[in-house]
Symmetry: C2
Amino acid sequence: MTHNRYVVILGCGRLGSYLANRLSRDGNSVVVIDKDEATFRNLSPDFSGFRVIGDAGHMAVLKEAKLKKADVLIATTREDNVNLMVAQVGRKIFGVPQVLARVFDPKREEVYAQLEIDTICPTSVAADIFLRAIANDAAKMRGKSS
Amino acid sequence: MTHNRYVVILGCGRLGSYLANRLSRDGNSVVVIDKDEATFRNLSPDFSGFRVIGDAGHMAVLKEAKLKKADVLIATTREDNVNLMVAQVGRKIFGVPQVLARVFDPKREEVYAQLEIDTICPTSVAADIFLRAIANDAAKMRGKSS
């Protein structure tokens, strides 16, 4: 796997910090942006990247994170609109090659796709896993009764 | 796939309502429990199951949902403690054969496993998908430059 990529992560909540810790440990250069400084305690002691405190809606904050240099931008906040806006800015203004965004509302996925932003909807993913588990269990029970 | 199973879903938020709509459409008997009646508008117009308004911490509410008859119990609220408690009650007191729970804090997954409750942590799942997408993109880029 290629390491040493420059990754900017928006949001240091559960998902953002998990990714930051993991990508940092794997040898990538990681910058995490969050407007709430308290979220940075989600980072592990061996996190070797940078922390930027600020509102990602401000160009100055994105510049401080050196978004222009980024190979990857990941928008992980709990707000779809924030993720969409910053992802677009990253793609169109800063020319980031790979942009990924978390999107809670599955109906928005189409908009993101048209803007060439890769999305993941945790709700759909979780639902699919639950449905598979139920189907597998049903299959097992059929096996037993036959 | 076996249809016509009796499924009780705790929580009618994004995940709970998605599962309820899907499982109802597939021909299962579905009961959704939520203490907030407003969440039921997440159910689609063709949802053919039952709605129970109430706190799942009360036995009367679980009895009203006929949990004893259930083939499957899925706990989907945003609160790990609520999901764990109701999942345990479903397994131990009502003898539900399959119990699934959403868990936000990955550290709690071990506790659930010991209680024989299947869990899914949307944060871990989403993170893994993001990490795979980044790794794939890196592989593509290496392919181009070689």
